[in-house]
């Protein structure tokens, strides 16, 4: 029943998309389309939540569309339902935000038709139960989001981003296609039930793992497949960036979990976990280091998505390592941590992108070096963004801390793993995770501090106005959820129980809801516990007590005066720290190694009228090592074959004849 409803809803979205094609230029079309998206996503969210709460059995449905001998299979189980909840929550909030934000869109006909189609595509990926339906929905999702990335195609940077996105998406889908081909085997059983029933040999299973990592990792943004992400996510309108970063990457994580944990069944070898762990650790640290070097707010957030995907994959890699050693109780903890982070990241990353959208509406700027002081004209946006920034920096008592805490706890029980490689790898990954958490805090001090604090660095920032009601409501819903998930983590962990059970041989964490004071105690015999509710309560009480006592007994007077200027009055706002100067110490410590960052100061002698110059050069190691040679090779090969374009018709016919003879010869010899 729920499944039929969930399948009908994307159809409504597609209809809304078709309507938008016809009516995009009408003034109220954006309102109608986003209202429909909001309503549909809310209905889907409620239906999925009801399904998750009631703990029903999986539902399946087969429709006579798609490949004639296969049909289209759909299935709703706990895993799909959890991810449906995550994406429909994101979809609903982004639609609500767009009710206000979409009014400012200059080219609505390039956004409105594709937005509902994008939502429908993501929903269908999660419901698909055969390889064809999955890949079809996956491509549909990729292409509709590509169209949204290209919405503002007049800017040349966006065109490049769209091109790169298209290439990487095709590459990823190719890998997934091959993965499903290997899974289906020679008999060609492409529906997921047949795949589950069959057992791949260890070699083939490992091949599927690698292909799935490439296919879903390129969509999620795993290093080194992340290069398109920080270009494409910021290029789209902000509510779409929120969906691409906060939600679509989760669909990719779902794809990985579905293929590796569900379809492949039991992991055959422990080293699978090792690969995923190492990739996750490297992704987490590189992602945040890249993010720290940015001064474009949206690009910073997009790079930060790469970091969070790394954290999720660390959890998944630990789970694989544990499952490979039949340690299902530990795997349950690692999986819970990963899935919790999936939920958390969708909450705070969507929130932050929406906040950036509000800033963009108010100022037209996303370069932090032109922002500043926005907390004065936009106090509510600033508050919501601050909550998101604190949550993503893993600060207690917010939600980001809980999932990192759970990941740390999973790392701390892993000395039980027998393999030597893992014994060395896991603490190293733990150190990388700790490093990325600390760097994330620096990154978001920079993001919030440069955009919202200080004095305005440009006239547009000085004249900003608070954003509209819809956008504020959307942001505060997410901010509220960040707080709730942070102080009541036990409830989330309990909600994740059936999901974890489904992919972990029906072993899940012990129920948390009957712990005293709603404390989180993931493993009873280890006794490590955390209680976000009490931490918040204690902080609130002690902070308010201090404020009350001081105001009552001490002074409560406030005077305003100029800031301390060292005796040089009227300092220009340009004397403030900028995004680049804030990151300079970190760039010197980490960037000089990772990015080979070099600074050069040109200071002309006194009397020389030339301006002083400060230059920073950085190299992108992944692009230089991985992509540039491939691109160069492609260019070289195509230049060499370029002459084929200018032949006479005689020679073309000769070529055709030659090719035909060669092929026929091949057929004859092969027979």
């Amino acid at each position: 029943m729920t499944l039929a409803l969930l399948l009908a809803l994307p159809m409504v979205l597609l209809a809304a998309g078709v309507y938008a094609v016809i009516a995009a230029r009408q003034s109220n079309s954006s309102r109608i389309v986003y209202s429909i998206s909001l309503a549909v996503s809310t209905v889907a969210l409620v239906a999925v939540l009801a399904y998750l709460m009631s703990g029903q059995q999986p539902e399946t449905l087969q429709l006579p569309i798609g490949l004639p001998w296969l049909g289209a299979h759909f299935r709703l189980d706990a895993l799909a339902a959890f991810f449906l909840m995550v994406i429909n929550l994101g979809n609903a909030v982004a639609s609500l935000f767009a009710l206000g934000y979409g009014q400012h869109e200059k080219a609505p006909e390039r956004v409105l038709p594709f937005f509902p189609a994008f939502l429908a595509g993501m929903n269908l990926v999660l419901l698909a139960d055969d390889a064809f339906a999955f890949l079809f929905a996956w491509e549909f999702m990729s292409l509709s989001s590509w169209a949204l990335v290209m919405a503002h195609h007049q800017e040349s940077a966006n065109v490049r981003a769209g091109y790169l996105y298209l290439v990487m998406a095709c590459f990823g889908t190719l890998a997934l296609l091959l993965a499903f081909g290997v899974l289906a085997g020679p008999s060609g059983g492409y529906d997921f039930d047949a795949i589950r029933a069959g057992h791949a040999t260890p070699g083939l299973a490992a091949l599927v793992l690698i292909l799935a990592l490439i296919g879903t990792g390129s969509k999620a943004g795993l290093v080194p497949l992340h290069v398109w992400l920080p270009l494409a996510h910021p290029a789209a309108p902000s509510h779409v960036s929120a969906l691409m970063s906060g939600v679509m990457t989760k669909v990719a994580v779902y794809g990985f979990i579905r293929i590796v944990f569900d379809l492949l069944g039991e992991p055959v070898a422990w080293w699978w976990g090792g690969i995923v762990l190492a990739l996750g650790g490297v992704t987490a640290v590189l992602g945040v280091l890249y993010a720290l070097m940015q001064h474009d707010l949206k690009r910073l957030l997009a790079y930060h998505t790469v970091e969070n995907i790394g954290i999720i994959f660390i959890g998944l890699g630990l789970a694989l390592a544990f499952q490979g050693n039949q340690m299902y109780a530990s795997a349950a903890l690692a999986l819970t941590a990963a899935l919790f982070h999936v939920l958390n990241h969708s909450l705070f990353k969507s929130l932050l992108f929406l906040g950036t959208g509000a800033v963009l509406t108010a100022t037209g700027e996303r370069d932090m070096d032109h922002l500043g002081g926005l907390i004065h004209p936009m106090p509510w946006t600033a508050l919501a963004f601050l909550i998101g920034a604190a949550a993503i920096s893993a600060l207690p008592p917010l939600n980001g801390f809980v999932s990192e805490w759970l990941t740390f706890q999973a790392i701390l029980i892993s000395p039980e793993l027998p393999q030597w490689l893992l014994k060395f790898l896991v603490p190293a990954v733990g150190a990388l995770l700790a490093l990325s958490a600390a760097l994330a805090a620096a990154c978001f001090v920079k993001a919030f501090g440069m955009s919202f604090l200080g004095r305005p660095r440009s006239p547009v920032a000085a004249q900003a106005r608070e954003t509209d009601r819809y956008s504020l409501t959307a942001m505060f819903i997410l901010a509220g959820l960040c707080i709730v998930a942070g102080i009541l983590p036990g409830l989330v962990v309990d909600g994740l129980g059936p999901v974890v059970g489904l992919i972990n041989g029906s072993i899940q964490l012990t129920a948390q809801h009957n712990q005293p004071w709603l404390t989180l105690v993931p493993i009873v015999d280890v006794k490590s516990s955390y209680n976000g509710l009490l931490v918040l309560l204690f902080m609130a009480i002690s902070g308010m007590l201090a404020a009350l006592l001081i105001h009552r007994l001490g002074s409560s007077a406030v005077r305003r005066g100029p800031a301390w200027d060292c005796g040089f009055p009227d300092a220009s706002p340009a004397t403030q720290y900028t995004a680049g100067s804030f990151a300079q110490p970190i760039r010197r410590v980490f960037g000089s190694v990772v990015f080979q960052a070099r600074e050069r100061v040109t200071m002309p002698p006194p009397g020389d009228p030339r301006p002083a110059k400060f230059e920073v050069r950085m190299r992108d190691p992944i692009w230089d090592v991985g992509y540039a040679p491939i691109a160069a090779a492609v260019v070289a090969v195509s230049t060499r074959f370029n002459y084929l374009q200018y032949l006479t018709i005689r020679r073309y016919l000769g070529l055709v004849f030659g090719a035909l003879v060669l092929l026929l010869l091949g057929v004859v010899l092969w027979r």
């Binding site: 907390i375 150190a431 001090v445 501090g449 604090l453 009490l534 005066g561 800031a563 100067s581």
Partner: protein, 318 residues
């Protein structure tokens, strides 16, 4: 009845650290002054400073926002809660399980986050220099601290401090390489996190070398008092942490009775005095290092912590 006693003991602990923190700061200052052959301020000077600041008006910069005004309360609350969760004279208190060692590290991170933001709020270059350097220092100090936590919890099997302290009292601990590395890492982190020489200088007002002081330069009156108190609490927290983990002797257990508590308190005071003495000696015997050598110092702490954890992953006996 037992419940009420538990609450009382917990409340005592919270009050005790609040009252002791300025004394500890005063103690370190006195010792440092004596080592320099100065008479130095009275032991009670920090209290007098605090009271004086509390009674004064706040002078806010014109460009300061609401964040600047609530940040001192947030910072103070986060550090006070974190400090109250570290067992001092007794382990296994009422709310020790609320947050484990990882959460305490993260609470300190919360305080630092808001302090750095407050530094950026007014929009002067001092605040910026302080915030950006503080976050660079923290980006190495926090992982180093977490690696130390890893080492401990791999040994004790838990990240909860009371349980760790209890474990350290048992006979099976002994002398271990990994513990030595963890101790060294924690001490290095403690020096960096508390803005002490050689990483930072709490007494400096030379712009080029300020880190912590640069961030709080715009604060005055009761806001400054709260931040100073929070800084003292943080110093107390780290010394309590060192005492609780590496010298847990004399600590009372939960519900041990008044005499045990009194004894625990006396031992705790001695530990603090000794810790403050060592800190002052160390600070007086070393020169402040350049900002861009701090990363080497803290990188070493991180590597020591990682090495300790790695040893334990390889063998529980090390």
């Amino acid at each position: 009845m037992a419940l009420i006693t538990d609450y009382l003991v917990q409340g005592c602990q919270m009050l005790l650290i609040l009252l002791l923190a300025p004394l500890l700061t005063g103690w370190v200052r006195v010792i440092k002054a004596r080592l320099l052959r100065r008479r130095g301020p009275s032991l009670l000077q920090p209290y007098r400073d605090l009271f004086k600041l509390l009674g004064k008006d706040v002078v806010l910069a014109e460009s300061a926002s609401w964040l600047f005004r609530i940040a001192p309360y947030l910072i103070f609350a986060a550090i006070w809660v974190a400090a109250a969760l570290v067992p001092t004279f007794a382990a296994g208190l009422m709310f020790n399980w609320t947050a484990d060692l990882i959460a305490i590290v993260a609470l300190l991170g919360s305080a630092r986050f808001f302090l750095a933001l407050a530094g950026l709020d007014v929009g002067t270059s001092f605040g910026g220099i302080g915030s950006s350097r503080e976050m660079m220092i923290a980006s190495l100090a926090e992982p180093a601290m977490l690696m130390m936590v890893f080492t401990l919890s791999l040994l004790a099997g838990t990240t909860e401090l009371s349980a760790v302290a209890h474990f350290m009292l048992t006979a099976e601990v002994g002398l271990r390489v990994s513990l030595g590395l963890a101790l060294l890492a924690l001490m290095m982190v403690a020096i960096a996190e508390n803005a002490r020489v050689p990483v930072d200088n709490p007494a400096t007002h030379l712009e080029l070398t300020m880190v912590h002081e640069a961030m709080v330069l715009e604060y005055s009156g009761r806001h400054l008092a709260l931040i100073e108190l929070a800084a003292s609490l943080k110093l107390l927290l780290y010394l309590s942490l060192l005492a609780c983990i590496f010298a847990p002797w004399g600590m009372a257990t939960a519900g041990a009775g008044l005499i045990a508590y009194g004894f625990g308190m006396a031992v705790y005071l001695i530990k603090l005095a000794f810790g403050g003495l060592l800190l002052a000696l160390f600070e007086s015997s070393i020169a402040k290092m350049r900002v861009f050598r701090v990363d080497e110092f803290l990188g070493a702490a991180l590597m020591l912590g990682l090495l300790g954890a790695l040893l334990l992953f390889v063998s529980r006996g090390l």
